[in-house]
């Protein structure tokens, strides 16, 4: 069992609305990420589920039980924390054993369970060390072990990777995902790092300003961001958002991009919104260099470029300081200010409303 349901949940701090009536469901065995920038309400949401913050309004259920008024210890949740929150006066073994000691589990069982979990998290060699003697990675593994040592309906992971260095982060990210899948755990993971969310989640809930922006699988979130916020927040480098003016001449639709008039037919676009002004969104990977002079190309100059191992990231000045990024192969020879023509992969082009920022559908 491991289901979480939030029904129009609010978090108010005085007059400040941190979470604005969000509803969501997490299913058994699912890994769900709450993704958003700092201050978006994701941590407040997690803490309301944990019972560390009062639910101001609305209802929350775990396994069908209303938890609004339950103590954290009675909610069948386990939690790991951004800054580890280890007990500084206890060694690794005792830290991990803590939830079991609280429940008066016999010593022998504690020992075997702690050793087992430490084995799978690779911290068996630290059992007698104190947290202050450990690296950030080992501390966080200890924190995770403490959360995983006991069965819980849902495991709450609060920015557990943020304080780790890049290598540790990548390693632990993979291990958390593996353990979650193997043990079929239900997890709610809070992060501001879109890469982590994409890498680990079955579903992602993107939040901003106390509200849910989009709920979807990593593919949905990446391929069809529901609004400009999600589009710009997810993806590195972020999606290019280009201001477009539509012109119809002789029944043909033209797009004006940075002063360049482009024929929609030649761009290969099947559909464009019936609006005069809108945004066009395209991921850098879906922009290609094309040879000079070919129709459907947008011309510009190389503003900057950087080789990054397997690829080169290049920003193109389309004029008026409008920059778009494209990703090219590593061996491309480029020069600053070199003229360049680019084309868009038509099937990956998205349109967004200028006023509402929402994705425009056919």
């Amino acid at each position: 069992m491991g289901q979480v349901k939030l029904d129009k949940v609010w978090k108010l701090y005085g007059n400040f609305e941190a979470v604005k009536g969000i509803s969501l469901e997490i299913h058994d065995g699912e890994f769900v990420s709450l993704l958003g920038p700092s201050g978006c309400g994701k941590t407040s949401t997690l803490r309301m589920v944990a019972g560390l913050e009062e639910i101001s309004r609305g209802e929350a259920y775990i396994d069908g039980v209303l938890i609004n008024n339950l103590d954290p210890g009675n909610r069948h949740v386990a939690m790991a924390y951004e800054s580890y929150a280890l007990y500084p006066h206890l060694n690794v073994f005792e830290n991990i054993a803590y939830p079991l000691r609280v429940r008066k589990v016999p010593n022998a069982e504690i020992k075997s369970r702690v050793e087992e979990i430490c084995d799978s998290l690779g911290i068996s060699q630290y059992l007698t060390d104190f947290p202050s003697a450990l690296s950030g990675g080992a501390q966080q593994r200890t924190g995770l072990a403490r959360a995983l040592i006991r069965p819980a309906s849902v495991y709450l992971l609060d920015e557990v990777l943020s304080h780790l260095d890049a290598t540790e982060r990548t390693m632990l990210r993979a291990e958390i995902r593996r353990i979650q899948k193997l043990m079929d755990l239900t997890a709610l993971f809070v992060t501001h790092d879109q890469l982590e969310a994409l890498a680990m989640s079955d579903r992602i809930i993107v939040m901003n300003d106390g509200e849910i922006q989009q709920i979807g699988t990593p593919e949905e979130i990446y391929d069809t961001p529901a609004n400009l916020f999600v589009a710009e927040f997810v993806g590195e480098p972020p999606m290019n958002i280009i201001r477009i003016q539509r012109k119809t001449e002789d029944r043909k639709n033209y797009l004006i991009v940075a002063g360049q008039k482009l024929d929609t037919a030649k761009l290969g676009l099947q559909w464009i919104p019936d609006l005069d002004n809108f945004f066009l969104g395209i991921r850098p990977k879906n922009i290609n260099r094309s040879n000079n002079g070919i129709d459907g190309g947008i011309s510009g100059q190389v503003h900057t470029y950087e080789m990054l191992g397997d690829h080169t990231l290049c920003s193109i000045d389309l004029g008026n300081n409008d920059l778009v990024f494209l990703i090219d192969t590593f061996d491309t020879q480029l020069d600053l200010d070199q003229p360049i023509t680019i084309s868009l992969t038509p099937e990956n082009v998205l349109f967004y409303d200028m006023n509402s920022s929402e994705l425009l559908h056919r």
Partner: protein
């Protein structure tokens, strides 16, 4: 030193600079700390008094023998230990309880904390006289309150040896519990909030968290405050001097008061220095014993 040999002139001058800048502080430390201490020890080896114009007489450790065989010294030592043995646990317990109550901010808690510091800030003379009035046998509020609250007969707080000691403990506790509270509050505020949250999510009760998390983490501050109190109680003077003057008889005379009387009433330099050295040694021993107790608990 061989490491230094390959160094350039710049580095050597850096070293010289470091030494030169540290020197005045070092000398000041030696002069201010070691100097008087040595002089005190030196004096303790002499029969030396200012009450009569007689030349100092070297006496080996005779003064120590005299002090250590003096019943008045042991009486003062006993009294100091009683104040320490009763006062510190009581103050630590009260201070901890109040600190825990105040550790979660509530409306007005800052004002209460500020008010708590008042006893520490009031001149001991003033608070001493206050307590003298409060404890007055005939018209003091203490007897009055105890009378209407629990129907107790009026007590001669300051006139009976046992009650006089209780009175000193009451005033000392009133004076110093806030200090203990404030230090422990600082210790409590240094405990990361998240640790408490972790403990609550881990399913621990309030008492469990107090016992398993708060108290162990408070130990360094607790140790500090108890050590400070041990030192302060060796110096305890005002409550004794003002409330009882060491009386009745010498039933509340403490080491510090005895030292004061020997020094400033009898002007016996030799014995006073001896008393000071003995106190210093006693203080170090007690502090060490306490540290051993604290450290020993760690390895369980």
């Amino acid at each position: 030193m061989s490491k230094l040999q390959g160094n350039t002139a710049i580095q050597r001058s850096e070293h010289r600079f470091a030494i030169i800048t540290a020197l005045p502080g070092l000398i000041a430390l030696i002069v201010l700390v070691a100097g008087p201490l040595l002089y005190m020890f030196f004096n303790s080896l002499f029969i030396k008094t200012l009450a009569a114009p007689i030349p100092p007489q070297f006496n080996w450790f005779g003064n120590y023998g005299k002090v250590l065989s003096d019943s008045r010294f042991w009486n003062a030592f006993k009294n100091t230990m009683i104040i320490m043995g009763v006062g510190i646990p009581v103050q630590a317990f009260l201070g901890l309880t109040i600190a825990l109550l105040l550790s979660k901010p509530f409306p007005g808690s800052r004002v209460i904390v500020a008010m708590f510091l008042i006893p520490v800030m009031i001149t001991p003379i003033v608070s001493g006289f206050q307590w003298k009035i409060i404890l007055n046998q005939r018209f003091g509020p203490m007897n009055y309150l105890l009378g209407i609250l629990i129907g107790m007969e009026p007590k001669s707080w300051l006139a009976e040896p046992f009650l006089a000691m209780v009175s000193i403990l009451i005033m000392d506790t009133w004076q110093w519990t806030p200090f203990v509270t404030v230090v422990l509050l600082a210790g409590l505020s240094a405990i990361p909030k998240q640790v408490y949250e972790a403990s609550s999510v881990d399913g621990s009760t309030m008492w469990g968290t107090l016992w398993r998390v708060t108290l162990p983490l408070l130990k360094p501050m607790f140790t500090l405050v108890v050590l400070l109190r041990i030192i302060f109680i060796f110096k305890i003077f005002d409550p004794v001097y003002i409330l009882t003057g060491g009386g009745p008889g010498i039933s509340t005379e403490t080491l510090s008061l005895l030292t004061y009387i020997t020094g400033f009433k009898n002007f016996n330099v030799g014995i006073t220095s001896t008393l000071a050295v003995v106190q210093l040694i006693a203080m170090v021993i007690i502090a060490k014993l306490f540290m051993k107790l604290v450290m020993g608990r760690k390895e369980r």
